[in-house]
């Protein structure tokens, strides 16, 4: 078995203020060397808090996080040598050029002038930023700034890279470029932990992922295994004009052998099925009297897994 790079044990974070908020509620995770791991969950699920704790920026209420064997609460300065962070927002040093952002980052990690310079030039080349090396962060587009942030985060050759919502605010093209950059890191053997609320992103990038909500891990595994275990169902989402008479209808539906579950939603009905040709026609027929006005079908997907586990849509 490959060495464990990130070990998160019984992690909790409770914000005690007027309103008691349990942001992280007993998370256990282990990341092996070289894997790309996705934390998937809706906004407010506890992803960013988990990353903040792991990157020494937030103190946990209880539990431990070890990075390359170093406890992040007891030895934060030492742990930071192993950590690269791409934060959710652009935190590039506005007073420095793109080159200097990389160069001084290397110096903060103790490199000499020569190796910092060489490493910065190498990264500019690798991330296709050489032409922009004299620009200031304020002059960069969101996608370019994100690329500089990734280059900066790996400049000191960390063991693990944390990417917090890396595609937030990026246009589709920049997102693809960013995915390419992250996949490129695989060759360098860097372990990656990324958070996202984009299912496509988790599906495209992550070797394994954890679905979290309300500060807990709901499911853990590869996208494929999660789909097999939880999401092998087609989902019919129906919007109805009236909810009257819905209850007996739900009973009738659930008694069918080809229906896994049927439940009412805010504006209609959700039916899950392992797949059946005749069911769709039947559902349309019986919901007709209730004023069927829209029908969405979701094929087996990570989204299905997500809805199955959390009972809500990512965008809700």
């Amino acid at each position: 078995m490959k060495p464990l790079i990130v070990e998160i044990e019984k992690l909790t974070k409770i914000y005690e203020s007027k309103l008691r908020v349990v942001a992280v509620d007993g998370i256990d995770l282990e990341l092996q060397q070289g894997e790309i791991f996705g934390l998937l969950g809706p906004n407010g699920a506890g992803k960013t808090t988990t990353i903040s704790i792991a990157t020494t920026r937030t103190l946990p209420t209880s539990g431990t996080v070890r990075i390359a064997g170093v406890d992040v609460v007891r030895h934060p300065a030492q742990a930071r040598r192993h950590i690269g962070v791409v934060p959710q927002f652009n935190t590039l040093d506005r007073s420095l050029t793109v080159f200097e952002n990389l160069y001084f980052h290397c110096r903060y990690f103790g490199m000499s002038h020569r190796s910092a310079r060489a490493r910065s030039l190498e990264l500019l080349d690798q991330f296709l930023l050489t032409e922009r090396k004299s620009m200031y962060p304020a002059q960069l587009s969101g996608g370019l700034a994100q690329r500089v942030q990734i280059a900066r985060a790996i400049a000191h050759r960390p063991t693990v890279l944390f990417l917090d919502e890396p595609s937030a605010g990026l246009d589709p093209q920049s997102r693809m470029a960013m995915w390419g950059a992250v996949q490129g890191l695989r060759k360098e053997g860097i372990t990656v932990l990324l958070t996202t609320h984009y299912l496509e992103e988790a599906d495209a990038l992550a070797d394994r992922l954890a679905i979290i909500d309300y500060g807990r891990v709901l499911a853990l595994g590869s996208a494929e295994s999660l789909k097999k275990a939880f999401g092998a169902e087609t989902i019919y989402d129906l919007k109805l004009r009236t909810q009257e008479g819905l209850e007996p209808l739900i009973d009738r539906l659930t008694s069918r052998s080809d229906v896994t579950s049927a439940e009412s939603t805010a504006d209609g009905l959700r039916v899950m099925t392992p797949g059946s040709d005749s069911l769709l026609q039947y559902v349309v027929q019986v919901t007709g009297p209730l004023g069927l006005r829209d029908l969405a079908i979701t094929e087996p997907s990570l989204e299905g897994v997500f809805i199955h586990l959390t009972g809500r849509d990512l965008r809700e």
């Binding site: 103190l59 040093d93 420095l96 001084f104 903060y108 050759r157 360098e188």
Partner: protein, 288 residues
């Protein structure tokens, strides 16, 4: 993407190289890196820096020691600011320069870097304990404060209508007071920068900086406050008083000043208290 190959090879060299984690010597290089970054930014802004540092003492000396003394005799301001006024305010202006630099070099950038851009993030994520990152800010601001204070001396030599009587007999004392005062100013800047939001930073100048300057024995020696006893006692809580008096003792020893021991103890005390408060504020802003 040939570069990736070399990247991998270098990685082994770098990570398996000497590890001095946890030992103080491991902190030296990152600390120097932070200093270098600040020096780079300062050098890029050297002209605004010099203007900022020079403008206030320049105008002050010009108005109070050049214009007013040349006005007709009988002008109460001119007689109040008599022959020795230049000598009295030279150390005071140095103290003000030190304090302004401390605030401009720490409080203003920190306040905005902690603000919406969180630019400070990359520096607090370097392999240093947070106190060392804060200490670097204070040390670099101290260097700027010392430069600012030294800039006042040539101005005080050339501008006043009547010559300023300055005489440094104890260089060690001057160095000690300059360094302690500059660290104190940086610590004050740290307190302000880590507790005041960018929105309110302008207000700090009116409600903190201006009062402590005017009541900081900058324009009059502390000894002469004996006629207003309550004020003489009251200003003792103001750290600028000890900066002015310390520089008075070092630069213009001919003018009555506080006992040296009291000055040094007070400077150390205020630096320690403000440094502690500043560090607590800094940690509070970085960690949640």
């Amino acid at each position: 993407m040939n570069s990736q190959k070399t990247g991998v090879r270098d990685q082994g060299a770098e990570i398996s190289g000497p590890r001095f984690e946890g030992t103080p010597s491991a902190y030296v290089k990152p600390f120097l890196g932070l200093l270098l970054r600040d020096a780079r930014v300062l050098m890029r802004e050297i002209a605004p820096f010099l203007l900022r540092v020079g403008m206030q003492p320049l105008l002050f000396l010009f108005v109070f020691t050049f214009i007013l003394p040349r006005m007709a005799s009988g002008n109460p301001l001119a007689s109040g600011a008599g022959m020795d006024f230049g000598t009295i305010i030279l150390p005071g202006l140095m103290a003000v320069a030190i304090m302004f630099s401390g605030i401009a070099a720490v409080a203003l950038p920190l306040s905005s870097e902690f603000g919406i851009t969180r630019e400070i993030d990359d520096r607090v994520m370097c392999p240093l304990p947070l106190w060392a990152v804060a200490l670097e800010k204070v040390c670099f601001s101290a260097v700027q404060s010392i430069i600012a204070a030294l800039c006042v001396i040539p101005m005080a030599y050339y501008i006043p209508a009547h010559p300023v009587v300055a005489h440094v007999s104890n260089w060690f004392l001057l160095a000690l007071v300059l360094i302690l005062s500059s660290l104190l100013a940086g610590s004050l800047g740290l307190v302000i920068g880590s507790t005041v939001s960018p929105k309110h930073i302008g207000l700090v100048f009116s409600i903190i900086v201006v009062p402590i300057t005017f009541l900081g024995c900058v324009y009059y020696p502390w000894a002469q406050l004996d006629k207003i006893r309550w004020l003489q006692v009251g200003v003792l809580v103001n750290p600028i008083v000890y900066m002015s008096e310390g520089l008075r003792a070092a630069v213009t020893p001919g003018i009555a000043h506080m006992p040296l021991w009291a000055i040094v103890i007070a400077l150390l005390f205020f630096t320690a208290v403000l440094g502690r408060l500043g560090l607590r504020g800094f940690k509070g802003r970085v960690l949640s």
